[in-house]
Amino acid sequence: MTKLIALIDGSIYSNSVCDHAAWIAERTAASVSLVHVLGRRHATGEQADFSGNLKLGARSALLKELADLDAQKGKLALQHGRLLLAEASEHIREKSGIEAETKLRHGDLIEAIEEFEQDADLIIIGKRGEAADFAKLHLGSNLERVVRGATKPVLVTSRAFQPIEKFVIAFDGGPSVMKAINHIAQSKLFNGLSCLLLAAGEPGSDARQSLDDAVAILNNAGINAESAIEKGDAETVIKTRIENDKFDLLVMGAYGHSRIRNLIIGSTTTEMVRSCHVPVLLFR
């Protein structure tokens, strides 16, 4: 790891994002860059003028009025954004003594990530954002866009940080999970942690061979890895295992399917992120 991107907004997940960033940065000697994106101004009309008439110079008067309104809002958002970033970097400094760089951007979250992820190795984002905090189990709408749009691994943090000691890899033998295993084997971050490769299916199936290969790769990298195959559907198996054995992190491949399919039958990835109350590290 050389560089982390931590996405901050005003939600209660931001602290957890900072904690995770600090923890990872300490273990891997990475630099942290805190990013806050001032979303596009929402196209909402807030003035209650239903008079429906047009005076002389109606257009220019309206333009001035709307521009002034936006300018005020924009200034406030800027101040608010600077404050959030200052708090976050202070938070990281206290936790780990690391000086994080801060970046404030206008525009769309996804565009900002596209711009910053070039030289980054990991993107950290909270499970929910400011707007989605009202309902538990409701995922932030930006989360899926970020994970789908990002080319780098994404760590989705839970509400509160706990040091990570043992983690589960949801194993389906697919290309993205193999990518994840290689990444984990090469990273300093997971060194000395223990890991369970968990597959759902019939024990003794052909998944066994690739599981053993994966375990070997991880053990060689100094990670204490085991494997298990359990009957049942992947979501339930993984969820119960994490809860029963108190795992601290879930690693999985993300969004293997098309948007249309997700729209109709929902997506495993979203479901897992939503129902497991641990951070989830996603690889595409």
């Binding site: 196209a43 009309g45 008079s51 047009l54 109606a58």
Partner: protein, 496 residues
């Protein structure tokens, strides 16, 4: 690739629900008098304009390229239709509407929306001013040879429209004006024109019908000029309104999609008995002012309009024309760019001439497309004239007096070749002439042949002629060499 199709769709439809619904009510109400007034301009029953406004608003809400813009039956297109309706009847107008829609879709296909870059600010200002004047002129028949009470009514209506918002901005003042004037007209025994006198109003929802015209080349030749005019004017006003809404909301719109949207809207509207329309500057401004921002506001405005008309048909029938005239005068005042009168003093004269020419041509022809064409041509000519001034010739004689070197700098093209040719002294007796065009831009064939001519003339006088830097200079014959595609081309151009 399009990773955020759904959120975008949601934002374009449901990003502003409460304000959109309220604003759509204001706009839907405001569309009724306008649709009726424009039907009268076109010489058709009010229901033709009302059906058109419903259908165009609903369809452009879905297919248009600018969320929050209001499209319906408009003055700009209505003024083009009068003679077609008078000579051939309504069915030909409906056929022309369908054809106009097809032409607009073709314009979308040909990416003609991008031609808007040639419509200068002055032409746009001329366009809106001319539109305002057209709307006002269309009210004159209702203001000439009418009982004096009518003038009182119109003045009263305008007073209510402009003064009522000082009391409350929660109710549209044009609506108040309609209710008050209608009530008064019931108690005054004068010979008022009412909306009901103007023709049939809708008594049911629109139905699909194929325009009843012979399907022949003759028909096509009759409607084509009208369709072409309507298609051009409709796209011009729509794209102009889109950029106005862009500026107001500080968001962007899709011009090509707007062409398609207008085309689909007109195409379908012809089949349900509506006349062609386009985006409306005034109503779009009212929508933004009332807080409408998304496609939902446009859709609901159309739906509200239809429900109101069908439900309140009996009330609409007794509205005095004076009330509509007052509203249309308000719209024309609101559409007119008053600042442009003030800027006549400060703007360059060429810009003012372009603006005024656009207005004059439109008022004379009643066709906004012709006005814009004239405006664009004039602004092109003025620009060519201005740029042709950036041109100079220096020369020096060699020590022995036998060789003269001419240094040509600046822009050589059709507008400057005459002065270019006159810059040389062919009477001077020289052995050798050097013409250095390294720092000149040779833009077109006129300049190439002028240069040839100069060389030839010197040769005839017996001088040897040497041309320097022709390659660099002629690189600017853009359409031949497409230099803008070559790396470093700009530096070479700018470095001249």
């Amino acid at each position: 690739m399009n990773t955020d199709f759904l959120p975008k769709l949601r934002a374009e439809w449901l990003g502003n629900i409460r304000n959109d619904v309220l604003s759509a009510m204001v706009v839907g109400l405001a569309l009724i008098p306008e649709a009726i007034a424009f039907s009268i301009i076109a010489g058709v029953d009010p229901k033709v304009g009302l059906f058109a406004s419903f259908s165009i608003a609903v369809i452009t809400a879905v297919f248009g390229g600018r969320p929050g813009m209001i499209s319906a039956a408009t003055a700009a297109t209505a003024v083009l239709m009068g003679s077609l309706v008078r000579e051939h009847g309504l069915d030909y107008l409906l056929a022309a509407t369908v054809l106009a829609g097809i032409l607009q879709m073709i314009a979308g296909l040909l990416r003609l929306g991008n031609l808007m870059q040639f419509v200068s600010k002055s032409v746009m200002t001329g366009f809106v001013n001319a539109l305002a004047i057209l709307i006002f002129m269309a009210q004159l028949p209702e203001l000439i040879n009418v009982p004096w009470v009518t003038y009182v009514m119109v003045a009263g209506g305008l007073a209510i429209i402009y003064l009522f918002p000082r009391i409350t901005k929660a109710i549209p003042s044009p609506l108040v004006s309609i209710i008050v004037l209608t009530t008064i007209s019931l108690f005054i025994d004068a010979d008022f024109h009412t909306v009901g006198d103007m023709g049939a109003l809708p008594d049911a929802f629109p139905a699909f019908a194929i325009p009843n015209v012979p399907f022949s080349l003759d028909t096509l030749l009759i409607i084509l000029p009208y369709s072409a005019g309507v298609a051009a004017v409709g796209l011009l006003e729509s794209l102009m309104t889109a950029s106005i809404v862009d500026d107001l909301t500080d968001t962007s719109s899709n011009r090509i999609r707007e062409c398609y949207g207008q085309g689909i809207a007109n195409f379908c509207t012809g089949f349900i008995g509506g006349m062609a329309g386009c985006a409306m500057i005034g109503q779009s401004v009212i929508n933004i002012k009332s807080g409408g921002r998304t496609r939902l506001s446009t859709l609901l405005a159309g739906i509200f309009l239809l429900i109101l008309v069908v439900v309140l048909g009996d009330f609409v029938r007794i509205i005095p024309m004076a009330a509509l005239v007052a509203i249309m005068i308000m719209v024309s005042i609101g559409t007119f760019s008053w600042s442009s009168i003030k800027s006549l003093k400060t703007h360059p004269r060429s810009s003012s001439v372009v603006m005024l020419a656009t207005v004059v041509v439109v008022v004379a022809t009643h066709n906004l497309a012709i006005g814009v064409l004239v405006g664009v041509l004039l602004s092109g000519i003025f620009f060519a004239w201005k740029i042709s001034q950036i041109f100079r010739v220096r020369s020096e004689l060699s020590g022995d007096g036998t060789t003269r070197t001419y240094h040509i700098e600046g822009q050589i093209f059709f507008a400057s070749v005459e002065r270019f040719s006159k810059a040389f002294d062919f009477r001077e007796a020289l052995d050798k002439v050097v013409i250095d065009v390294t720092h000149a831009h040779i833009w077109d064939i006129s300049s190439v042949s002028a240069l040839d001519m100069v060389v030839m003339k010197f040769r005839r006088e017996g001088a040897e002629v040497e041309l320097i830097g022709l390659n660099e200079a002629s690189e600017t014959i853009v359409d031949k060499l497409a230099i803008h595609d070559k790396p470093g081309a700009f530096e070479r151009l700018a470095g001249h």
